[in-house]
Amino acid sequence: MKIKYCILTLILFITGRVFAQDARFVASASQTTVSTGEQFQLTFSINADGSNFNPPDLSDFQLLGGPNVSNSMEFINGKATASSSVSYILAPTRVGTFIIGPATVVVNGKKISSNSIKMTVLKRRTGQPNNNTGGGGAGTQANTGSTDLSKLLFLRAEIDKNNVYQGQPVTVTYRIYTRVDILQSQINKLPDLTGFWNEDVKMTQPAQFRVETYKGQRYNVADIKQTILFPEHAGNITIDPFEMTFIARVQTTPRDFMDQFFGGNVQEVNYPAKSLPVVIHVKPLPQAGKPAGFSGAVGKFNIEATVDKDHLKANEALNYKIKISGSGNIKLLKDLNPNFPTDFEKYDPKITDTVTETANGVSGSRIYNYLVIPRHKGDYTIDPVSFSYFNPATGKYVTLSTGSFKIKVEKGINENNVTALSGDQEDVKLLNKDIRYIKTGDSDLRAEGDRFFGSAGFYLLLLLGPIVCVAAFLVRNQIRRNNADVVRVKSRRAGKIAARHLTNANKELQANNTQAFYEAVFKGLYGYLSNKLNIAYADLDRENIAGTLRAKLAKEETIGELLDTLDLCEMARYAPVTHISAKQVFEKAKGAINAIEDEI
């Protein structure tokens, strides 16, 4: 017995210690078996002062409310006990069994974990009674009747067509359908619309409710937002859900008389809503018949080009305007690259968009304004610009073309000094220089093609020198040949010399100048003999002459005659000669020479 008390006391002490010192961290769910769409409360409670609460992963459930935190403090026998709890209102989204993992909290520097809870989610049964009456301790915004609320208040993303060509606009409208009063609304998340190029439709006025019938029920409907989407690639593109949170006033079934009396059957409910994802089927543009210059324009367009003038001076600006109007992805149009003459200086176009976005799509016009400056005189043509688009209504490609423009450029005022090309040529330095003056002297005019070089005359004159040379060479050789034998030349010349002297002598004789006559005859004879016999003048004497003549086989009487004449002449030079007349001496001398000439 005594032992029994002892044990009991011990146990009491122990439990007392446990209660006093160990913090208990417990997770509990209002129900562990729920059906989809049904909500339940998950509570984590601790009987100590905890901090750093770390909830488990609740991604398997839709978070409808919470975390709601409540704290309590108790004083019992002078001893304070604190407890706190965190609760979530959750709703399962999928059927299955889920484990809600342990949450952790730090108490007195120690990290403790809660237990984990196994949740079983069943398929929703229709006509299930609304069993949220036990809803443990939710506040005024109890999430009652969310099952019904999903029918009374929901979001829809509506598209005007779900089978489009790439680039064809789709209008998506986000709408609220409601049958309850909405006190407050807030957009949580807008879809990020990956895969589309989008253009918001400007709402002219804030969203207004209108009555519309949907699936046999009348709803108040409001358009939150309208966006025009241009699919950027082919395939199935999903528009992500659109999420909003509402605070709605919901009628609940009265629980008792008092509720009914005070109108307490109306509850304000915090309700998060989410639209369903929408899939758009995007068809690729057909490859067949795709024009070469197609750059992705889809819709229905018109093109028109204008120039502000077609007649201008060089270095003046010309505005070339291309206007594309119509409906479709106007803002996605690429630059057109009109083909300007290469000599035009071209600037990037100024693009002006006049676009209105309506629920029917995007329409308006885009104007490309090109500023070009012709730099040189001439007649130029701006080629037509062709523009292709795909018309989704007919499913065909259309190619439009602008007109071509003839531009006449006159000579500019400062054409040569403004060119971009000659920037580094020394124009300034040359401005004060002028060309050299014309040639004024006698111009050497010639008939065309009449060039001296290469003409027959040129060659003749060129050869003239050599020809003369050859001639001179021939003449010289002839002379040389003739002069080769000096003795023969001399003897041939002897008769001539003698004749010259004798002619002289004859002259003196006529003039009766006897002295000079004999002198001439003597010189004539001596000169003749010197040349004829090839004896130097100094060596000429009677013996020499006679000897040489004899050696040359002259007749003795000829020699005698000659010597006689020589003697006569020598004598006559110093003394008058009387026995013979001068005439006879002359004849004798002539006879002697002739005789020698005959014999030798």
Binding site: T440, D444, R451, L461
Partner: protein, 258 residues
């Protein structure tokens, strides 16, 4: 015999030079003077017409081309001016005035073309062969030939050996010079024959990469630019090369040959 030879040569000379002394040339000379007077009075249009008449009559000279070029230049017709300057240069390559005006007119054309630097020897050689006109060189060659011949004849008849030596070697030297001169004149002519050039007359013309309109444009030329003509495709297109080495095709109608 010697006398007969001289008579023959005199006959040849008379035959050669008689056309140049004909009356037609005399008339043109008057026209040339008249044109010069018009130019002096700044009546460039009329002066250009008068020079053109001389050319139309079939006569030409470096002076006429040069003056016609000047008259066009004064009227602001740069391509014409350059065309006639270049024609003048063909007749008188070494003329300083012509070369100066070509440089000046070229600096006013739109296209600045950097010439590919030539090997200095080839540049010198070109400057050398182009320094005198072919006809001047021809006359020089004849004179050198005659002097050489005279020296050779002297050599034939000289008796003193010193004189003989001197006359022989100087005769060889003069003959050599004469042959050189003829060679230079001939290479000058072949240079002009092989270097066909043309001036662009269209204010702005697209030079194509091949002889067709539809192909891409290689580069753009403007009036007054001188191009070397490499050949023709026979279908109205010329293959041209710029001084900077670029090649392309141009329509025959866009250029005028020098």
């Amino acid at each position: 015999m010697k006398f007969n030879q001289i008579k023959l040569i005199a006959c040849f000379l008379a035959m050669i030079f008689s056309p140049a002394l004909s009356f037609g040339a005399d008339n043109q000379q008057q026209l040339f003077k008249k044109a010069n007077a018009l130019y002096a009075k700044s009546q460039y249009k009329q002066a250009a017409d008068a020079y053109q008449q001389i050319l139309d009559a079939g006569y030409q000279s470096a002076g006429v081309y040069f003056n016609l070029g000047n008259a066009h230049y004064k009227q602001g017709e740069l391509p014409d001016a350059l065309l006639y300057y270049e024609k003048a240069r063909r007749l008188a390559p070494g003329d300083d005035d012509i070369n100066f005006n070509i440089r000046l007119a070229n600096s006013k054309t739109v296209d600045k073309i950097d010439e590919v630097p030539e090997f200095f020897l080839s540049r010198w050689w070109k400057g050398f062969i182009l320094s005198f006109s072919a006809d001047k060189l021809a006359t020089t060659a004849i004179i050198l030939m005659l002097v050489g011949s005279a020296l050779l004849i002297w050599y034939f008849f000289a008796i003193a050996s010193g004189l003989k030596k001197f006359s022989f070697f100087s005769a060889i030297f003069f003959f050599f010079l004469a042959i050189c001169t003829v060679t230079i004149a001939a290479s000058q002519l072949s240079y002009f024959d092989s270097n066909k050039q043309a001036i662009v007359f269209t204010p702005s013309v697209n030079v194509k990469t091949s002889p067709a309109d539809a192909v891409s444009t290689a580069f753009v030329l403007h009036e007054g630019t001188k191009v070397n003509v490499l050949g023709s495709n026979g279908g109205g297109w010329l293959k041209i090369k710029l001084a900077n080495g670029n090649e392309g095709w141009i329509k025959t109608a866009d250029v005028k040959a020098i």
